[in-house]
Symmetry: D3
Subunit: 244 residues, 6 copies
């Protein structure tokens, strides 16, 4: 089985870390291809960056489809471009945000999300509502750690995340923690041990969900919202993306 | 007062019709500038087209901000790129979908949306949920009319729309109708007379809401979800859009 | 265009201030007529006062209809008698509470309401639920300021309101503030500057929404919940209000 | 125990029938006093009539309180003036609409409401949402029977109601029926036998709930939304109702 | 009228206290039979205990039906086995949790539940959602008092409960308190006096609701979810419970 | 990896079919142990059967835990005893109902559930609400096929199921179908081909989810609702199940 993992930002070092996390989670027979777009923002911190990450992301999804991958993972916690990717793909497409929410819902009554910046909180809350899982989320908390600080061992990012997890246990009645950024993928096991409750990483979760869907032959529905794009003219810079 | 109305698809004839509808709705002192992006899809029919419409749309929003417009209207019923546009703008930004929902909520207990294609229904339902107004919408119905058929006087588009409005009255308990496509803007008055209930067009609604917000000095909040994009590197085709 | 603004309590000094706020918000061609009922409570602080404000309010709405106003504003944050007024009127009727909620929803993901007394909180929460906008409201907070203290420059009302706004920013994730009393109308601009986020006043908001609805020819739906009252006998004190 | 049952319309024959239904439901030791206001509409069919029924209703609630009744029933299915009555009363106050919803929720997963006119449907749906019980109601259906036709044995009211109940069973998955008008009180038992599922009447339900609350010493909370009205000046026709 | 009150745990002293509370609440003509199963857990603290309490509970419900009781009360705040009991019974069945929620909803806008252990909170929250009354509940709080400590006069259980009620008033906007354990039944009146707001006990509430339902001839619906179990083979230890 | 699949009814032929479906779905390295309890009902059709299936189910879950299985599947679409099983287990526990809902949510905006009997619909709807996924489900439909008829090749069960799927496509806007009974597991692939949209079986879905959770070391949270049962005395038939 081949799974395409797309980091929708253009920071190759983060792609490498995400790829490693995905491979660590993958089953023996699963080949993980971790890529990032050639064009777009270096990190996704809010709705504007997200918008410019989508064309490059869709280009990668399209390439994956063309080469016959069995499934796609979108490795940004905002689930950047998820619906558009599903419209393009026949293989299943899973975002790491939704993956973590679904997995956490299977082992805990209610979970708290720990994300990077306060500005990301509304987008995550909106996704929870869209997926139907808002009632399973006790609270979305920001550790106030910029995404790329997670790449920097000297930052106090880990200490801040630990502090927020303790708050979630004390104040939110959280029974599990969801790590709200692809860059936190390698912290899950250590945090779970340290804090005594399940800590769910979206990258690994998405890999297992895509493996599961693909193994069962479950592919993206094409009957309504995710129907194949109708052929039409696109103009300008983006014309090469026009559906045919 | 100057209002920028962006048709996020690249079909100039539709931009012209939208501009005319917007000018017809505007107050005497309001100058309406109706534009469409240089790049992107000829129409927006589903999530994929929407994704590729956003960069060009944001470019227009950015130009509008640079020239000091008092507010922006996004003239696609999907409210394409609304959150990203709000992140970029300080002036208020209103989508024609949300505009119609809010206006209809002020004159009717419950409304039915009549849109073009069934594939657009899930995106509209999702927006209603995001805005909080899902409970005010009795049903989202598709007339199965392609967007550009609305440009074609010989099509049976109007007859189909009329049929769906009668169903909405009979079966949904609809007290008002929301027209679910920018291309339907000039049908509202005639349909309201013919069917005996308010018929709300989003283009006109959005113009009045932006005029209202701008007159009151109400500008997009910059404190959390719509915070100004953080400066960062963008790569490739889209690098010129990087926030600085 | 002529808009009737009804302060549903009988305190003429508050009517004058509301009228001034409405006129300040109105477009050049809009004539604002600010009135209050001849009968009813001096202020509306809870459900009981609200009930006795409605007959006088409806009398004013009826007079406005008879003189052909283009729209009505109900200038109490509880949106006193809104549904009954809509049943009576063909012109659009907008309450200042709903007006502020809708306007705030267009410039912020989530808002906090700052009202006068704790006893008013449940009614406001109930309205938010009825309108469908409860999910857009982070919290309804009371500054514990009686309505008429807002008329008294020597009171500490403004200091209290400022304190509650800071709490809303710190604790609620509020991206905008809605002022929860008609008597606070003239504080909005100063509070917005002082606290660095949009502060929405319902009186001004309602004026702009009614202007917008009226300009577009959108009138109250008469097909179901707001159908014209059926003719019938009314008895006693209130007999002159019987629908004919 | 003494229970005041207030029919908020001024039709004495309906008051008599409601009183009979209430007495039939009351426990041996319960004295039922059935009254209607001296002023107000002959029937309540929509929001406008409701508004003018409230002052007279509250006058009766106030008299009941003054004579020390143990509880109050508001015998209109819209639960006319319920919150205002609770603000005035220390004894429990139960509306027949909410009473029927609560009782039906104890014997059925989901119920359908059968009311008189389509124009009443939105108000009932709104009450269900306010009470939190909307999810327990499969649908609110109108039999298109005017309230006073229920007084007329020659009308086809009963046949129409029977037809709607069969639709509710077939199409709504209704496990119980709630009769949506005080004037239907005496039909419940016969309809239950005829249609083979529980049929709940609000008048009888409210009597039992008030008896229960009163027996347990449970009185209306005075700490927030239903706090005793603050003393203030009322003007004009309604001045005698001012809280002191 | 005969009401069966089943304490679903096997602690006879608690059954005796529950029976006393039920009898204190019952009307003069009501005979209360308080029982507990011969088999099952000594107390119900979480989902596991609940599962093993159900067979014994249903055995008692079945006995009650066989002897023709007029209604059943399930006297555990989790409403243990409620749906299964309704499937078995034709008489009405009311759980003390739902009873308290419904009664509190009639005298207060919003209530806080005070239960024993934090581990019970999710089950109670889930029931509130199932009943539709979650929006009426401000918060479910645990006093961290084990169930059987309520039997021990020397414990600090009462002091802890009092502390939590004060928090509910200060922080939750609670207008009433619901006592979240059958073992707290005899504290309600004293706590109401001490804290100045209604305090609702589920045992007494359920008795009044069953009395009311039974007096009105309202029995459990048999048309869908609570349909009589289909005859089938049961195997092993539990074979004697097979529906015939 | 070893997964225990418990069919909570006592029909061995169904256990064999479920085991085959589970093994067909399992990854190469996964050992599936399919069992059914020694005691309990031959099929689960409603709340009463469900209650008597739980003790035997929990006995099997306990045995699985004792032998160190990596995860558990509860193979009844009602997710019989799910919360109690989670309280007992440290390994992850997944019900086939929730599994199918989560998997369908990843490939379709909205799905329809096709179950056996109308009496099962309310329990499934309730589970959807509990999991938070009710908004993702367009409708729960019953094919009116008894569970054991699925074992009988001569029945018209398949034809009925096909008919309901076509209704779901036409009337519900369903983008995927969830098969609402463990006994339908082997129909999924053929139905998906025949009807042209994804058809999701819960048994296979649950196997993949448990494999995924176990591979990632995600185990049931023990901090609140699923905390390990407190040691206590159980009495009678069920005493051997007492937590120690």
């Amino acid at each position: 089985m081949r799974i395409l993992v797309v980091n929708p930002n253009t920071t190759a070092s983060m792609t490498a870390r995400i790829g490693a996390a995905a491979r660590a989670a993958a089953a023996p027979g699963t080949e993980v291809e971790a890529v990032n777009p050639a064009m777009g923002p270096a990190s996704i911190e809010g709705y504007y960056d997200e918008a410019f990450a989508v064309p490059g992301l869709l280009e990668e999804i399209g390439r994956g489809e063309a080469t016959g991958v069995d499934g796609h993972v979108i490795a940004c916690f905002d689930d950047t471009g998820l619906e558009a990717a599903r419209s393009l793909a026949r293989a299943p497409v899973v975002g790491i945000g939704e993956a973590a929410f679904h997995m956490a819902s299977l082992i805990a009554g209610r979970f708290t999300v720990v994300t990077t910046l306060a500005r990301s909180v509304p987008a995550i809350e909106h996704n929870l509502m869209k997926y139907g899982l808002a009632a399973r989320c006790a609270r979305v908390r920001a550790a106030e750690v910029p995404v790329l600080a997670l790449e920097d061992a000297a930052s106090d990012a880990r200490r801040r995340i630990a502090g927020v997890i303790e708050q979630a246990k004390d104040e939110d009645g959280a029974e599990a923690i969801v790590l709200g950024c692809a860059g936190m993928a390698d912290l899950a096991a250590a945090l779970s041990s340290a804090h005594g409750l399940p800590v769910v990483d979206g990258v690994a979760s998405a890999v297992k969900l895509v493996e599961g869907l693909a193994a069962l032959g479950l592919r993206t529905s094409k009957t309504l919202g995710y129907a194949t794009p109708r052929p039409k003219r696109y103009t300008g810079l983006l014309d090469r993306f026009a559906p045919r």
